[in-house]
């Protein structure tokens, strides 16, 4: 058995180049902006002082390569510049940290809903493959996959806020101020985002349950006459649910993307609505900082997920070493 440390080290090695390319992609986009980039990016907010500021921040007063190195140095020191629209000149990094807990709560709740609902539906559907329950669940999942997150949000608001008047349609209070109020406001946004995740998780769970059911070890278990509950629990589910860890990590990406829409519909002051506001207000440093931050979070979370998976499934270690 090869060392776990070696495999983790191999996963870590690709992180720096990936992060470097991410910054390079972002910087290339800035440099490709036609004409006078500062003027184009700032739009109506254009004034000399702001223009100088942005030019200096992005190294636009230098040739591309020098400018990139300059900018990269700042980014790695955590200096993402300052907002050019907000009056009190907030630092982008402070702004991001201030909004992170809100988005983290929403993302965790959505993942929780997505995973639990997805796994239950997927397992039920997979165990009854071809049966009536399977057909019903699969059709609902297919329909749900075709519904964009904002339509789910609108349906939820129509049902729970306008028709039933059960939940407030938008707004935010923090968990520490008013826990019940916080949850009441978070239910619909995390349902809107989480139901999307649930469809994907359910489809994969179903496929891997079916896969595990047709495997040799399950057949042996059945031939031995083991009770059905035992086979389902410790033979099928334990093997089928492992890949879900990885998928949940990958799903975080589309979840974070969807949160831009969800947070702006429900007026939740997280990183998603920060992205939206920065675009509307043409606060380019804030947009840039948030985009980089989201990509960084995605890469790091998936690194952790990868390592977890390696620890959880010895087969990965074995196969990883063969390669």
């Amino acid at each position: 058995m090869p060392g776990l440390g070696k495999i983790i080290a191999r996963r870590l090695i690709v992180i720096p180049p990936t992060l470097l390319i991410i910054t390079l992609i972002v910087y290339t986009v800035i440099r490709l902006v036609p004409g006078n980039p500062v003027q184009a990016l700032l739009g109506e907010e254009y004034n000399e002082a702001a223009a100088r500021e942005l030019e200096k921040q992005l190294g636009l007063d230098k040739p591309p390569i020098l400018g990139y190195i300059d900018w990269l140095g700042k980014v790695f020191r955590g200096d993402l510049g300052t907002s050019i629209v907000l009056v009190n000149k907030l630092k982008v990094s402070d702004l991001l940290l201030q909004r992170l807990p809100v988005t983290a709560e929403l993302a965790l709740l959505s993942l929780l809903i997505g995973l639990s609902l997805g796994i239950i539906l997927g397992v039920v559907s997979g165990l009854n493959r071809g049966g009536r329950i399977d057909v019903i669940i699969s059709s609902i999942l297919l329909l749900n996959l075709a519904i964009p997150v904002f339509i789910r949000a609108i349906l939820l608001v129509l049902i729970f806020s306008i028709a039933l008047r059960l939940l407030p349609s938008s707004g935010y209070v923090s968990m520490s101020e008013d826990p019940v109020g916080n949850l009441r406001l978070m239910i619909m946004p995390s349902l809107a985002a989480g139901l999307g995740v649930a469809s994907v998780i359910a489809r994969i769970t179903r496929a891997s349950v079916i896969d595990a059911m047709s495997s040799d070890y399950v057949m042996v278990a059945q031939a031995k006459g083991l009770p059905r509950g035992l086979i389902i629990y410790s033979y099928i589910l334990r093997n089928a649910l492992l890949p879900i860890i990885t998928i949940a990590g990958l799903q975080l990406g589309s979840l974070l993307g969807g949160l831009v829409i969800t947070e702006s519909i429900f007026r939740i002051p997280g990183i998603g609505s920060l992205v939206y506001e920065s675009i509307i207000q043409r606060d380019y440093p804030v947009l840039l900082g948030s985009v980089l931050f989201i990509a960084l979070v995605y890469v790091l979370v998936n690194l952790v997920v990868d390592i977890l998976y390696t620890v959880a499934d010895p087969r990965v270690r074995y196969e990883g070493d063969k390669r």
């Binding site: 990936t18 390319i21 297919l142 996959l145 075709a146 904002f150 609108i154 831009v260 675009i279 995605y298």
Partner: protein, 289 residues
């Protein structure tokens, strides 16, 4: 010639026999035809405002009600369907123009430095959630339908690259390709003679699935008001307008939403059906799209 025609027809018939594909094609084509024809002959007029009839609920004259300016909502939805389809179709084509060559080159030079570099770029691009990348690009280059298409194309390209690389590696591992290489066939010949024909059905499936992802992406972008601008709005943009009147006029956002879901559903039905119909060795894992 006749034999070939018969073959194509029997194959087409075989594909259309799959109920999901048939349903998807019928829904999609009737949506396009009905909207296109009624707009062309003037039956539907998305621009005529009737100040006296704002926000009317659905009735026999206005099947989907009217909007805030008294325009017929159904006519606007018809136009929206075509706009949504146009932007996302263009985006998907761009994604394939960018992603296919990357995947092909990567597969041919599998294991080399070139492959490494391309795959690293693909991984890095995938670290941006598609919607965030699209927002970033369209915010940088100015908003509009064309920029939206390009941004959608760039955001979907890495997925196309990764899937087509996998497909190509599958085709390349066949013995007939090895045989061709052994008798000295060039890289271009192998691409033209073996890779393209053997992967065409898979690529068409990819294309359909990418298109449904692109429609959703475009709808999100225009729901945020960053793609099309009034009065020519895609479906997402109309839903956005209606969202402002959610309490008083439910139909304003709900009916265009239904058409949007129907559009995505019809395309993904075709994609899913094709995916099950093609050679299982090259099956697309839909989950990653």
């Amino acid at each position: 010639m006749k034999v070939i025609n018969a073959k194509i027809f029997s194959r087409l018939y075989g594909i259309l026999k799959e109920p999901r594909i048939l349903a998807g094609v019928m829904i999609l084509s009737s949506m396009i035809l009905v909207s296109g024809i009624s707009l062309a002959i003037g039956l539907a007029d998305p621009f005529r405002t009737m100040v006296s009839k704002p926000l009317q609920p659905p009735s026999m004259i206005h099947l989907a009600g009217t909007d805030a300016l008294g325009r017929d909502l159904l006519s606007r939805i018809f136009l929206g369907i075509l706009i949504s389809l146009f932007i996302s179709l263009l985006g998907t084509i761009i994604a394939f123009l960018l992603g296919l060559p990357m995947g092909f080159i990567s597969a041919i030079y599998k294991g080399s430095k070139v492959d490494d570099v391309i795959m690293r770029i693909v991984d890095s691009l995938l670290a941006f959630p598609a919607l965030v990348l699209v927002l970033f690009i369209s915010a940088s280059f100015g908003q509009g339908p064309l920029i939206s298409s390009i941004a959608i194309g760039i955001a979907e390209a890495p997925i196309v690259a990764r899937l087509s690389r996998g497909t190509m590696i599958g085709v390349l591992s066949n013995q007939f390709v090895e045989a061709a290489v052994a008798i000295g066939a060039g890289k271009l010949w192998i691409i033209a003679r073996y890779l393209l024909p053997h992967s065409s059905s898979v690529l068409i499936t990819h294309f359909t699935l990418t298109l449904s992802a692109a429609i959703i992406l475009e709808s999100g972008l225009s729901f945020l008001g960053l793609s099309t601008s009034p009065p020519i709005l895609s479906l997402g943009g109309i839903v956005r307008e209606g969202f402002l009147y959610l309490e008083t006029a439910w139909w304003y956002s709900l009916i265009p939403s239904m058409f949007l879901v129907l559009l995505v559903l019809s395309v993904s039905l075709v994609g899913d059906g094709l995916n099950d119909a093609i050679d299982p060795r090259y099956k697309v894992s839909r989950e990653y799209i």
